[in-house]
Subunit: 187 residues, 2 copies
């Protein structure tokens, strides 16, 4: 499948979830939203669970792509860009965040989905572990608990943001504040 | 309504949500689970939204009650007890956490529920603000961003815990670690 078709389908999947949640989620609606056949969707992603797992990874990948900056930035700036790229007023960012929240919430009741969420979360957290290690240097603190703190905080703040308790900018400020408290500053 | 009836209904409500989520949630099932009439339920909590809002407050109150210790402890110990009391292997703690997670997830799609979640979250966060202020003293750092960080982290870690990515004990350790990083230690 061409990369742009894959991208189109996964963005469509996030929009469908963001519109009405996982309740009554149907692959047919994703196919319609993406303008592809249900056969193509099934051929490439398999079943509903395969599509939803790919959507989780897509949310992570999209945040990583948004965080990319021209030229090579120092590790602390890259880490903060990655963490703050999870929030924003752009519809695509919000759709991805809602989809992630929905999938995690439903994973509490679905062991298969819980495995997918755990795997995708671990990938994301590992990326953060490496950036924390690079930011703090070889003599720095253990990056694992710091990465857990920062990634779990992104998830907690996203719930506040998506329910209108804080703005995207406030969530980003809170992430910069948390990073500074563990000794990571962009400049 | 006697306090124990209210307590019984709200615990039953959390069990019902923890069993099968908010999807298909019905007051009738809560009445049956609590062993009361649907009329009594409706009389005291009003409609579905009234019951769910009371359940949110009940989750917070239950955590505060669990955190109470005999004798007067210093503020840092009380704060850490409150934050870590959100996690535990006891069925009641897990039920309350699942209910909170479900209500927050569905609040993304429901403005009325979002208001209830925002109000209940603000009450809880204010309690944390006061304990942070007392812990850090009058010359200490601004307690507001610290309380946002700590409470949002509880919510993020609860998602990890409820999907089996970390244990309740690991979530509690992560909260103690986060509190220590903002200068709050139990002893």
């Amino acid at each position: 499948m061409a990369e742009d078709t894959r991208e189109r389908i996964l963005s469509a999947c996030e929009r469908v979830i963001a519109r009405s949640g996982l309740r009554g989620f149907r692959m047919q609606e994703v196919a319609r939203e993406a303008g592809v056949s249900i056969g193509l969707l099934a051929y490439h992603f398999g079943d509903r669970d395969g599509l939803l797992e790919a959507a989780l990874d897509h949310v992570n990948e999209s945040a990583a792509i948004r965080a990319e900056t021209p030229g090579e930035q120092p590790a602390p700036a890259r880490l903060i860009a990655l963490l703050t790229s999870e929030f924003g007023d752009d519809a695509g960012i919000r759709d991805g965040s809602v989809a992630w929240n929905e999938l995690r919430a439903s994973a509490v009741f679905d062991a298969g989905q819980a495995r997918a969420v755990a795997r995708s979360t671990a990938d994301w957290q590992q990326r953060v572990v490496e950036l924390v290690r690079e930011s703090l240097g070889p003599q720095g603190a253990d990056p694992e608990p710091i990465a857990l703190l920062l990634t779990a905080l992104v998830e907690g703040l996203s719930g506040r943001w998506l329910t209108g308790q804080i703005t995207a900018a406030q969530a980003q400020d809170a992430m910069r504040d948390a990073a500074a408290r563990v000794g990571i500053r962009a400049s």
